[in-house]
Amino acid sequence: MKAKIVNKGQLSGLLDKLAKDYDLVAPVKEETITLFKKISSAQDAFLDYTNSDVSPKGCFLPQSEKIFSYTYTGDSLEIVKPESAKKTVLFGARPCDIKAITTLDPVFEGEKFGDEFYSSKRENTVIIGLSCSKVLSTCFCYAFGGGPCDGTGSDLLFTEIGDKYYVEINTDKGQALVDANSQFFSSESTDQLAKDKEELAKKLAGEFVKKVDLTGVKELLDSDFELAYWDEDPYKKCIGCGTCTYVCPTCHCFDIFDFTTGDITGDRIRCWDSCMYPEYTLMAGGHNPRPTRKERIRNRFMHKLKYHLDRYNMVGCVGCGRCIRKCPVNIDITKIINDLKEVAQNA
């Protein structure tokens, strides 16, 4: 694998250059909240974070996105498509969030249902990851094959080691960015940093607190849709908000509707939707196949632990732990997984 080094003193120069050449999206801090936003200079980036409050999935699937605008003039309908995706760099995303993007890819870039809005952004974006330096009590990326220093899905992966960043070049896209900005990348030997990175990865791997055991869970969910478990605790305490789905880096449900002003001019909008909301499955005739929180909770966890696997052979969770931290009533997916494992064992 090819690698380079960026000295910390060079980082702001690199980011300023990227901000000039691309739309640069990076973590920023707004009061107490860390989220990803377009920045115009290196000083706006906030890299001293553990896990952002909202994931960077909005880079590819914005919470609200205009699909087209329309104007009806009486005898004709004029449709205006939005500008195509700009060349973008997503900088400083954590490994779990980048892995999450790879779980969205088959949904939006499948052969059957390609999504031009997603794929044009995906094609035009270079993803630069940033290894974690700390493991939170809610983290469990290891359970799904990820890791705090895992480069899966990234074009470049930066790992902070002392006063340097060890930069792994994972794709041609990443290589091209390095070549075009070679003045910021040192060509000194990377052997020592490669070893240091391995040490760091090993150290962090030992710091996970959440123990997750998926043994038998998928098989159990395959075998019984009406498990008695879903009648138990989790749905009773769920307050039915959409927090877990909106902070989740892999949730990708959306709704499409027209936002019309009086004179038949308007925008067709796609925006995030949440399976936790009662109107999510509400049919035109008034029937709702998921009438209570029980069915909705079941759906969310079935989607993460079964449906996504069935369809794409990937777990629909990357272990970022956001839903655990943000749930108002402490519904914890790791507890649900472990509970289901118990149910499977005792079956």
Binding site: E30, E31, T32, I33, L35, D53, V54, Q63, S64, V135, L136, S137, T138, E207, V209, D233, K236, K237, I239, G240, C241, G242, T243, T245, Y246, V247, D255, F257, F259, I269, C271, W272, D273, S274, Y277, P278, E279, L282, I324, R325, K326, P328, V329, N330, I331, D332, T334, K335
Partner: protein, 320 residues
């Protein structure tokens, strides 16, 4: 606080054994050291899941609405602030008094779990919590930690009107004195000092972050409409599109819809994943209601009419 936990369990057990209630809703240990989670106990053997301490931030009263048409009675564990919700739910005819049993626990304040988690080793487990007046001692498997209330309590607990439940069938432990660590409306007064444009800029910045997850609405004990205007599809008063305009309509409408009924429990602030200071909107309304009508905090006494549901000839009407 182990003693209080024991007493809550005993009370719950008695109620379930004597078939006075079919369900007890209380706090149980959560999956993080400094968190609890709502638990629903339906058998005397299950009461060992109940706990008490400075991590019982949730207002459980809203769950009573879920059981209003269920057979049998429900007991609920409430703090002082939560008990105001119980009164409001009764006054709004959302629940009936003879179906609920209120287990009130005088509350010495609630700690912000993330602040505590930041200082305790991630793999530590909770052994015991002790209230020392101006601080809590949290004893864990990896050592003891002292958390000053002023610095670690939930913001809403810095000013507490009712440490003791205002409605309770059973009170657990001793009543506590009212103790405040800040001025109730200090932050609202600070905002009031800003010019129009500055105020607008302040709230624009807050509302533009909103994810429209509706956690603030769903957790709110006085948001009890069966079909909320924000969930309505036809007509779609507010669209799902997130932008400053739609987000602002949501927040302002929500705040005004609970005006005069909001019990100031602060749950909206606690649950917001984007740390939008939602409670400040309602605090402004509380302050105005106090200034204009000398209204007590809704829910703080049984049988109070809501300020907007009551007319008196002496009401000020400068704008007419």
């Amino acid at each position: 606080m182990m003693n209080l936990t024991k007493q809550i369990r005993e009370q719950a057990k008695k109620l379930l054994e004597e078939k006075k209630v079919d369900l007890v809703i209380g706090f149980g240990q959560g999956t993080e050291l400094a968190r609890t989670t709502p638990v629903f106990i339906d058998s005397p053997e299950g009461v060992s899941a109940l706990t008490w301490g400075p991590f019982c931030a949730n207002n459980l009263a809203k769950y009573l609405v879920d059981y209003k048409n269920a057979p049998g009675n429900v007991a609920i564990v409430v703090k002082g602030c939560d008990s105001r919700s119980v009164i409001r739910l009764l006054d709004d005819n959302q629940i009936s008094r003879d179906k609920i049993v209120v287990i009130g626990v005088p509350c010495a304040g609630q700690l912000e779990w993330q602040k505590v988690a930041d200082e305790v080793k991630p793999d530590a487990t909770l052994k015991e919590t002790v209230d020392n007046g101006d601080s809590f001692v949290v004893k864990t498997s990896t050592g003891d930690h002292t958390f000053n209330k002023k610095d670690y309590m939930l913001h809403r607990c810095l000013v507490c009107e009712n440490p003791n439940p205002v409605i309770a069938d059973f009170t657990i432990g001793e009543e506590l004195p009212v103790k405040n660590y800040a001025e109730r409306f200090a932050e609202v007064e600070e905002l009031e000092q800003l010019g129009l444009e500055e105020k607008s800029a302040y709230w624009d910045k807050q509302f533009s972050r909103c994810l429209r997850c509706y956690a603030c609405r769903n957790v709110c004990s006085v948001c009890t409409c069966e079909l909320c205007v924000f969930d309505q599809m036809k007509p779609m008063w507010v669209s799902k599109r997130t932008n400053l305009s739609e987000n602002t309509v949501f927040h302002i409408t929500r705040a005004f819809h609970v005006a005069g009924r909001c019990v100031d429990c602060g749950e909206c602030d606690r649950v917001c994943p984007m740390d939008i200071p939602i409670r400040k909107l309602n605090q402004k309304i509380h302050k105005d209601l106090k200034d204009l009508f000398d209204s007590p905090t809704p829910g703080s006494k049984e049988g109070l009419l809501s300020a907007l549901g009551e007319f008196s000839l002496g009401d000020p009407e400068e704008f007419m």
